[in-house]
Symmetry: C2
Subunit: 225 residues, 2 copies
DNA sequence: AAATATTTTTAGACTTGCCTAAAAATTTAT
DNA sequence: ATAAATTTTTAGGCAAGTCTAAAAATATTT
């Protein structure tokens, strides 16, 4: 239970994100590009994490987290999302400003701190981007009715319940077009040639959204139009 | 203005604390014992900080901070003390629990974060141990009338305005004997043979405090008895 | 003021986490 | 199914920050 380096924690977190709910094996290059390092560095670290029994790793075959590795990864994600919630709800940060600071704060090592923060924030279930916050025991409640805006049916009204926080540019774009969490929009038409989509926000505003945008927005079905 | 490693920041902070208000030169061994490293490590790092123009260092003669080094040190201390205040005032930590966590939090690099936190806490002037919190510009308001309990006159009533946070054991001791910030006590008698001191707390309780204790408590004179 | 003791620095080594370049394995394409 | 392309690993190196042991400088004692 001795503590891990920031680097090790980042690897675990990223492996968790990449393997997704499908428990896919994660490739070396995949990790390298997400972590902005070279493949050879990944190989080194996977050896090390494998020795520590935090990942299962087979040469040339990629890796996945062990139970213990996953437990740790989820706790880091819990910290990240609680800190983001703190920054937005208590310190009035914008949702596009919190990611980088949370990347630092997530490595602070104090169980008491994070549990106190959780209580202080009133046990929030979702962070400012709509991602679920794991509880103290690592339980994550995924919003079951959530789909990508990309996959929403035409002529339906949906509500934005999640946005991908990875891209600062996307978050700024959404902010600018009033596409914030909780916003309702109507899916008007899809254009197969570029997978773009026209939506209406509010009464008047009609916007065409690229695939890049719609695949990074999570929505919940509200009603047929 | 590029950012420093945690280690470099800790060195600057510690040099600041050791040189005190007197601007003493700081010795290699002095630093080594405070930073729990060996003297040889100190020498290495002083070379480096000297190259970066953050300390003035002369071989065998110790070091002191440059203006820039001091500026940075004060900002780290500002962060440390604001975080301690947050932990105690908002997350209900005890004053003896905050030091270690604050040692981590003080390295989080975000000016916006720390300034937001300052506002959120309502621009506190002192941290939970009574130490002054530097403002955004690095200005520190030292409590003018503060003296060590060790030096308080017999037959005087004083108020505790500061305790040294370095020793967890001391803080627990003080907590246990109700010697918290703001407590008033009467200096009854001093015993030169061991520099201990008898004080009365409240109406009844009389305690003998060792030099180790009284030299780590700051008090303000209230009245003659 | 010499001799001794203490402090500080140097020299060489280790670990972590990263890199580049080259080799090996795997995958894809012909 | 072999050749070509891609992915992954190995090998060797580098910087940061630490260590131990030995040498050099400074301070203290007699």
């Amino acid at each position: 239970m001795k503590s891990l380096s920031h680097s090790e924690e980042n690897y675990l977190k990223e492996i968790f994100h990449l393997s997704g709910l499908t428990e896919k094996r994660v490739s070396t290059n995949g990790l390298a590009s997400r972590l902005n390092t070279k493949a050879s560095s990944i190989t080194d670290m996977l050896q090390k994490l494998s020795d520590k029994k935090l990942v299962e790793y087979v040469k040339y075959k990629g890796c996945f987290l062990t139970e213990e590795g996953e437990r740790i990864a989820i706790q880091i994600i819990r910290k990240h999302r609680l800190w983001e919630t703190f920054l937005v709800n208590k310190l009035s940060f914008g949702w596009e400003e919190v990611h980088d600071v949370a990347e630092q704060l997530e490595h602070i090592d104090s169980e008491k701190l994070i549990d106190s923060l959780d209580r202080f924030l009133n046990y929030p279930k979702f962070d400012p981007h709509g991602d679920p916050i794991p509880d103290k025991d690592g339980k994550i409640v995924y919003r079951k009715s959530k789909i990508k805006l990309l996959d929403a049916a035409t002529n339906s009204r949906v509500e934005i319940v999640r946005v991908n926080e990875d891209s600062l540019a996307l978050l700024k774009f959404l902010e600018r077009h009033q596409l914030t969490l909780g916003t309702e929009l109507d899916v008007l038409e899809k254009f197969p040639f570029d997978d773009s989509m026209s939506v209406r926000v509010g009464e008047l505003l009609e916007i065409n959204l690229s695939k890049k945008v719609t695949e990074n927005i999570g929505v919940k079905f509200i009603s047929k139009l």
